[in-house]
Amino acid sequence: MKILYLNLGGCNGCDIELLAGVVRVVEKIGRELPSPDHGIRSRSYDITIVTGPGTLGNLCRIVRDLERIGGEVDLGHVIVLGSCACGGGIWYDSYMVCGGWDMFLRELISRGFRIRYRSVTYVTGCPVRPEDVEKVLVQLLHSYPNLISSLT
C-alpha cells in the first residue's frame, strides 16, 4: 500500500493529531502502516492524506513535483483533515492561500495537470481529534479489503 501525505501549509496541529490517530489505528488493526511520501514521487497512490489550507508556496512545490512525473497522478482515496484543508478555514480569502483542497485541485487542473482520485472524505475540526482520524482510517481499510491485505 502506498500512502501520500501532503502538508499544504498547515500549522502542525492536525499533523500531530494524525500521528496520534495513526498510533491508534496500528493498535487496532495490528499491522504497521507504511511510511508515507511527502511529495508526489509516484504516479499512483492508494491513500492520500491532506492537511493545511493550500499556500502559494506549496502550490508551487506540487506543480514542480507534477511536472517531474509527467503531469498525471492517481491519488486513490483522499482524506482531507482539518478545517483549513476542508475549506480554507480562517484563511479562506487570504492572498497567499488557495482556500482548501477543492480550490487547490482547481488551481492544479487549471494548469493542465490530470489528477484522478477514487473518493474524498472530509474530517473537520481545529485541530481534528485523533478519534475521528482513527474512525475514518479504520472504516476506509474495512470498506476496501484489498487495502488491508496489501499491508505486511
Binding site: N7, G9, D15, I16, S94, P127
Partner: protein, 521 residues
C-alpha cells in the same frame, strides 16, 4: 538606569517617549541609526529582537518607517526611523547580522527602496510581479496572486537536501547543504512555503478582539503563546491591567504547552538517536498533558482561552483537581528524561554543532539555543508577564553551546515547568476572582508584547487603527531568530550529523513562515 545607557549612546533626551512603564519609543534620525545600534547592541549588550516595516500613510505620522526593537531586563526599546517614499531605507545588517532577515522582509513586503545588492524577492519568491507589495495599505488582503506565480525553481546546483524530520511530522522547507570531502561547506535555506499571509488578514479582515484566535492558529504546537503575546501587545498599547486570575490561567496553559512542545522534540531526538522505547514513553507522557488541556478547555490543542484584557472563562475547582492528578502522574517523566540524558548515544553529540556565545549574541539567538550558549536571558524572568512574578523557578544555563547542551537544557526546562504548574495549581487565585477587564480600542497606539515561547522569545508588535481594527501587526516567532545560526553551527560538521543539529534548534516552520524568506547568507 536605561536612561543613563541612552545618554551614553548620545540619544537626545527630548526625543524619548515613554509609552508605558516598561516601553520606550525613540525617534532616531536615519543617519544616526547605525551609531546608535552599534553603541546599544554591540557595546552595551542589549538584545536585538527584530525590526518592523510600517506603512504609516493611513495614520498621518509620516509615510514609511522602520522600527527596531531592542530589549534589556525590564525595558523594551523601540527605535523608529521615519523615511519618505523616495528616500533610501536604512540598514544595519552589515554590522548586526541578526537584522538581515527582518530588513529584507521589509524591503520585499513594503517595497522600501534600497541600494543593497539583494535578491528582487525575499519572501514572495514565486515569480510574483514586482508591484505586489502585500503590506502596503492599498493592497487588498483577498487579491488572488496564485494565477500570477510562475513557480520557477531557485538555483541550487551542488546542494544536497537534508530532511531532519520524523517521518510523520513534515512541513515542507528546503534545508540544503554543500559537502566537500566529509565536511559541510555551505548551507542554503529556502523557506516561505507555509506563508499564509496572516499579518495582512489580521490587519484588514478581522477586528481587534478576533485576532487572538487567528494568532493561536499561527502554530499547532505553541499557539497559545502567540495569542498571549498578541493580547499583551494590545494590553500594553491600550494600557489595560489584566486581573490576577487571568494571569494565573495564562501561566498554567503556557507551561502545559511548553511541556508538550519540549516532550515532542525530545521524543523525536530520542527516535533519531535510536532510543525507540524512550520515544514511545515520552509520547505517552505527552498524551497526559494533552488530556490535561482537554479537561481544562475542552480541546486538546487551540485553547481559545485568551481575549484582550483577560480570559474567556474560569477554571472550576473540579477541573483543577483532576489536572492535579494528571500532573502527579506526569512527574514520573523525570526518570525517562534522566535515562535520555545519560544515554551514550546522546553523549556522542557533545562538541557537535557548537555555537559560541559571541555569535549567538550577534545573530540574535533566543530561548534554549541562546541559553545553551551561556546567554542568561529568559523573558519569563527578565520581562515578567502573566503570573511568573508570583511563582518560583530556575532558568537553566549551560556554557558549551553544543547540540548536547541544547537538548539537556530542554530536559531541565521541562522539570522546571512541572514545578511552576504545581505552584500555580495550588493557588487560590486560579479559581476565584475577576476574569477580564473592559477596554476601549483607541486608535493610533503602539504596543509590544513578548512571551517566552517553548522555542524562545516571541515578539508581537501592534499599532491600533480606526473602527476597532489593527493598523499594523507584526509577529516575530522564535524560530525566525534561531534559524539565523544555521550556517554557524553546520559549517565544518559531518553531513551525517546535520539532521540532528537542525533538529536541536527545534525549528517550527509554520511559526516562522507566516511571513518569510529565502536567503543565502
Amino acid at each position: 538606569m536605561v536612561i543613563k545607557v541612552l545618554e551614553e549612546c548620545k540619544i537626545p533626551l527630548n526625543k524619548i517617549v515613554k509609552l508605558r512603564e516598561d516601553t520606550i519609543l525613540i525617534d532616531v534620525d536615519k543617519h544616526d541609526l547605525r551609531d546608535v545600534i552599534k553603541c546599544l547592541v554591540l557595546e552595551k549588550g542589549l538584545h536585538f529582537s527584530t525590526c518592523i516595516g510600517v506603512d504609516y500613510s493611513g495614520l498621518r505620522e509620516g509615510e514609511l518607517a522602520l522600527v527596531y526593537v531592542l530589549t534589556r531586563p525590564r525595558v523594551k526599546l523601540m527605535l523608529r526611523v521615519l523615511i519618505s517614499e523616495n528616500e533610501e531605507a536604512p540598514h544595519v545588517h552589515d554590522i548586526l547580522p541578526a537584522a538581515e532577515w527582518c530588513e529584507n522582509e521589509a524591503y520585499d513586503l513594503l517595497g522600501l527602496k534600497t541600494s543593497l545588492p539583494i535578491a528582487e524577492r525575499f519572501i514572495l519568491h514565486w515569480g510574483v510581479p514586482s508591484d505586489v507589495r502585500p503590506l502596503r495599505k492599498d493592497f487588498r488582503h483577498d487579491m488572488k496572486i496564485h494565477s500570477l506565480a510562475s513557480c520557477k525553481l531557485i538555483e541550487k546546483e551542488g546542494f544536497v537536501e537534508v530532511d531532519p524530520h520524523h517521518p510523520f511530522f513534515y512541513e515542507h522547507e528546503d534545508f540544503l547543504i554543500k559537502v566537500v570531502g566529509n565536511r559541510i561547506v555551505d548551507v542554503l535555506y529556502i523557506g516561505s512555503y507555509i506563508n499564509r499571509g496572516i499579518e495582512k488578514v489580521g490587519e484588514s479582515r478581522l477586528k481587534i478582539e478576533q485576532v487572538p484566535f487567528i494568532a493561536e492558529r499561527i502554530c499547532g504546537i505553541c499557539g497559545f503563546t502567540h495569542s498571549t503575546a498578541y493580547c499583551q501587545a494590545v494590553e500594553s498599547a491600550l494600557n489595560i491591567d489584566v486581573p490576577e486570575r487571568a494571569r494565573f490561567e495564562r501561566a498554567l496553559m503556557l507551561e502545559l504547552e511548553r511541556i508538550e512542545s519540549h516532550l515532542l522534540l525530545l521524543a523525536l531526538i530520542a527516535y533519531a538517536i535510536g532510543l525507540r522505547d524512550i520515544f514511545l514513553e515520552l509520547l505517552r507522557y505527552r498524551e497526559l498533558v494533552m488530556n490535561a488541556c482537554d479537561v481544562l478547555v475542552g480541546n486538546r490543542k487551540m485553547y481559545g482561552l485568551n481575549v484582550i484584557g483577560g480570559v474567556r472563562y474560569g477554571f472550576t475547582v473540579e477541573q483543577v483537581r483532576s489536572v492535579r492528578e494528571l500532573v502527579k502522574k506526569l512527574k514520573d517523566v523525570e526518570r525517562a528524561l534522566e535515562r535520555l540524558s545519560e544515554s551514550e548515544n546522546l553523549k556522542k553529540l557533545k562538541d557537535v554543532g557548537t555555537l559560541p556565545r559571541e555569535d549567538a549574541h550577534k545573530l540574535g539567538a533566543v530561548g534554549p539555543v541562546a541559553r545553551a550558549s551561556g546567554i542568561d536571558y529568559d523573558v519569563r524572568r527578565d520581562l515578567s508577564y502573566a503570573a511568573y512574578e508570583m511563582v518560583d523557578f530556575d532558568v537553566p544555563i549551560m556554557d558549551s553551546g553544543d547540540t548536547y547542551a541544547r537538548i539537556i537544557i530542554r530536559c531541565e526546562e521541562t522539570i522546571q515547568s512541572i514545578r511552576i504548574i504545581e505552584q500555580v495549581l495550588s493557588r487560590e487565585e486560579l479559581v476565584n476572582g475577576e476574569l477580564r477587564t473592559e477596554y476601549y480600542p483607541h486608535p493610533g497606539r503602539t504596543g509590544i508584547g513578548m512571551t517566552e515561547a517553548p522555542r524562545g522569545e516571541n515578539v508581537h508588535f501592534v499599532i491600533t487603527g480606526h473602527d476597532s481594527k489593527l493598523y499594523r501587526w507584526k509577529v516575530r516567532a522564535p524560530t525566525y531568530a534561531n534559524l539565523a545560526v544555521l550556517r554557524t553551527i553546520l559549517i565544518g560538521e559531518s553531513p551525517k550529523n546535520a539532521p540532528i543539529i537542525i533538529a536541536s534548534l527545534d525549528p517550527c516552520l509554520s511559526c516562522t513562515d507566516r511571513l518569510v524568506k529565502v536567503r543565502k547568507w
